[in-house]
Symmetry: C3
Subunit: 394 residues, 3 copies
């Protein structure tokens, strides 16, 4: 489909949906209706296609987009920067080292102080189980308070750029890739996706991607298999909700401790490393205590434990197990590629290379997912607005 046709088709999709995103934050896919998720995807594709057609889609005359990154980021940082720029906002990064946030200020106060002309606050806080999502809720509550008390002329939308629970902008980009690859969301019904742990020589990778994937793909009738070595559990509530979603959608969800089992006949594989939940929790506890010695011991022990599972690699042999030997490989990037970024990692070089462009395109949806989330939170009549943008002469 060329871009003009995509716009036409997605506008038709949007007509049938009843999203309730106006004035809302976006924190977790699993708090959102299917219509909300489908609307975000449709709008993301429309905005992306407008970009390819060189039609601007600015919606703000001025205003700030604030980003708060409590973990390093390149991809998500640039996706957010691109999205807010295209919508007409200037990016202002709240650097908590530069700022006074760590010196006894309340979150409530700071959240209001940075929001006088702010339309959106994007937050990445993914390292500490039990912390990231609740921090986002706290910021949301703070700007509610400021808006209701007429401190703020507008209530900034809070946007989850990766929390301890979910990574919705990434997972919706992953899902958009599936939509485009298989032609249609309906095509996903009955397709098997293997969300699998994979070996990496690193330590402390967040759980938000696997948690997000099992809770998102399970809503579209997919057969979701979560695979990991014993001990690398996700947060139990996210596993429970994935189970429930699978039942609702007519798909399925199960956990296995065999990568082979997960890959067999899979239509999609998503092999990615993460730290065991218990390690992340212990790490959080030790960080708060400031117990550096114990932290180093934990890292050493964790890396040793990881090293016992070096066979959890997405090799050519593993790929041969998948449906017709050519399942789609997904990754949120950067992948740990064996022999490229590390001696032994998540994926074999030849496998990654074969799917490389697919993973780039997958990532390419992210700026537009972010833009769509903001767009739908800020524009009361998105359909008519998008139609008018599309007919604009350049």
């Amino acid at each position: 489909m060329d871009k003009k046709e995509i716009i036409k088709s997605r506008l038709l999709e949007l007509e049938k949906l009843q999203p309730e995103l106006y004035g809302k934050d976006f924190l977790l896919t699993w708090e959102n209706s299917l219509d909300n998720l489908k609307a975000i995807m449709a709008v993301a594709e429309i905005l992306q296609s407008l970009h390819w057609e060189k039609k601007p889609f600015r919606i703000f005359d001025y205003g700030l987009a604030v980003s708060i990154f409590r973990d390093n980021s390149t991809r998500t940082r640039f996706s957010f920067a691109s999205a807010v720029n295209a919508l007409g906002l200037a990016l202002a990064e709240l650097d908590e080292v530069k700022s006074q946030i760590a010196h006894g200020e309340t979150v409530r106060e700071t959240a209001n102080m940075i929001s006088f002309l702010t339309e959106v606050i994007g937050i990445r806080d993914d390292m500490y189980p039990g912390e990231g999502h609740s921090y986002m809720l706290e910021v949301a509550e703070a700007v509610n308070d400021g808006f209701q008390n007429r401190v703020l002329a507008q209530r900034p939308m809070i946007l989850n750029l990766q929390s301890d629970l979910d990574h919705p902008t990434q997972c919706l980009a992953d899902l958009l890739k599936l939509k485009s690859y298989f032609g249609d969301l309906n095509q996903l019904k009955g397709k098997k996706i293997a969300m699998s742990w994979a070996y990496s020589p690193s330590y402390g990778k967040p759980l938000s991607v696997p948690q997000g994937i099992i809770n998102l793909m399970s809503r579209f009738g997919m057969e979701v298999v979560l695979a990991y070595p014993e001990g690398y559990d996700l947060l139990p509530e996210t596993v429970n909700s994935a189970q429930a979603f699978a039942e609702q959608s007519g798909g399925s969800f199960r956990i296995t401790h065999s990568m082979t089992d997960a890959f067999t006949d899979a239509d999609v594989v998503y092999p990615k490393s993460w730290a065991p939940m218990t390690v992340m929790q212990e790490r959080t506890r030790l960080l708060k205590e400031g117990n550096l010695q114990a932290l180093q011991a934990l890292e050493k022990q964790c890396l040793a434990e990881n090293a016992r599972h070096q066979d959890w690699e997405c090799t050519e042999e593993m790929m041969k197990l998948t449906r017709n030997g050519n399942a789609l490989y997904e990754h949120c990037l950067p992948a740990d590629i064996s022999g490229v970024s590390c001696p032994k990692g998540e994926v074999a070089k030849s496998v990654f290379e074969r799917y490389r462009i697919h993973t780039y395109q997958e990532a390419g949806y992210k700026p537009f997912v972010i833009a769509a989330m903001i767009f739908l939170s800020k524009i009361k009549n998105p359909l008519s607005h998008l139609k008018s943008l599309n007919t604009l002469e350049q």
Copy 2:
């Protein structure tokens, strides 16, 4: 008053004023005529109301706003970022660690090199008595030189975002809060404001806020009482000028070493910690010498001295002394709140909580004060320009 009425009323105020701000820097309130200050406040309220009415007030097609922060800042940084964005400029922060400024370059050279397409340079340099203001003058001189010699097509305005002497954007925001709270600048005549030192477990807080407050409020006929424990003196010239302003305006100014004295029958209280001038001077000397050992000793001694004055706290008991027990509490934020940000601080939790929204609104004027200062320095006919903005259809 709703926002439309505020615009109408402030345009009328502006008609009666003869500000001389076009092409000027803004460094100290006390260098400026009353008309200048009133015009800044009126324009700030108009711009704020335009923002609430969702009417843009961009004045630049392109150009940079450079900020130079020689001290950490969240609030002022975001206020400046918001203001310049709304006016149409892109923010470029001169990070003196990243840049080469510290390595033997002259200020003159750097000031010109960052100014080829720059409309405003905002500077925060508040830590060293005798340094901040003179640095701003040096930068102003440098861009004068560049502009006169046709190095620069436009002369960037220099804007004081906090110096060793004054913090004009903060103090004018504080004054705007009083204007709005009491209904009118004329209502301030005869009202008592207690600018009082308060205990904080921190060290090295700048003097610019108390110095700015006593020199600004004294110009509007207020009874200004400056209170602090013996030894916590401000810079003598700022005390002298406050005295003179009080005499001119028909208000009064006096110093007391009793917080009780200051609070009794006060209409407004501004309890805030600062370091003694002599400590700041000694600290500057030792920093220049690189004498880290003496610096640590000074900090220790200073904190011990502070700790002797833990009773300088804005408690409920202290508030009861004020006019009808309900003086307006002001603070530049973040406040050191007892039991919240520190075990014992400047203000009791319940007092702060009661005035919290007031302090947020007080801070909310700052972006618009900054925008008004730039606006009045750049727009030759502010009144007609604002009238045309206001009648713009969205």
Copy 3:
């Protein structure tokens, strides 16, 4: 000439040129035709004059300009920030400390991930012989790949903000100063320029400026004399190409180890420090090894070697040797000024002071050279576009 006349005259110049810059990167002047270089200069002067005439020249509705600075920078950073802002782009700095680039990611991947809505990538990577230019080529290759594979809707232009080989935005600014000072590029024929090493108490200054100068000025018929103490050689291929250019243009190129020889009868002098190529290469090797001890020894040895050449200073006596004693002094700034930025440096205080405004104006071309390079890479019909900009009513 006033600015309106400059615009008229440069539009006429542009009419006679056939630049082939549309869709191209700009990495090295010596890869570019004379028409390309002349077109960049003409457009830079037009854009600068439009700026002085307060006529905007925005060409983008939205989009990012990414900068990657692998070395500290104030001037070039602000020049790039100004240029892209005036063209309508938002700056996004890729900070390799903040980002994950250093942790095993491939350049190819990152280059695409930051480019989904990116129009230009400006790179400064000048510290390691054999590295900077090849890194830029790698990034260029990466975005080619992404563009061809429909990962990217547009191919970002790659712009050299200083490499191990060339510093084209600086050197074209230097040349524009000569064009303006002597009235015309044709006036440069037969004029002598002394590109001379000069003493500095610093270590590890890149070679790109002298390499860029000898390869640029030699193309305009100048008599280029490169002077340095024995051992401070430039990269041999850049010396060879300068030789060839001189022959083609009817100018000349020679190397001398006497500053006196170089300055005698010079029309232009460019005294500037750099590190010997061999030291830079050794330094790169040791940095890669992580051999800190050897690095310190190298620095010490290098500074000692430098110190043997403190007489390589641009003094009043040296200036008297030049044509009529008043050659134009050029420098890329910041200069190491004796008695100002260091006890003994590249240039005497009185010499620098006499030419200070000239060096500022020289630097003032840089934002417009950058803007012109982007403009010519992005606009298919630059001449008609510029004509329409110029006739725009404000």
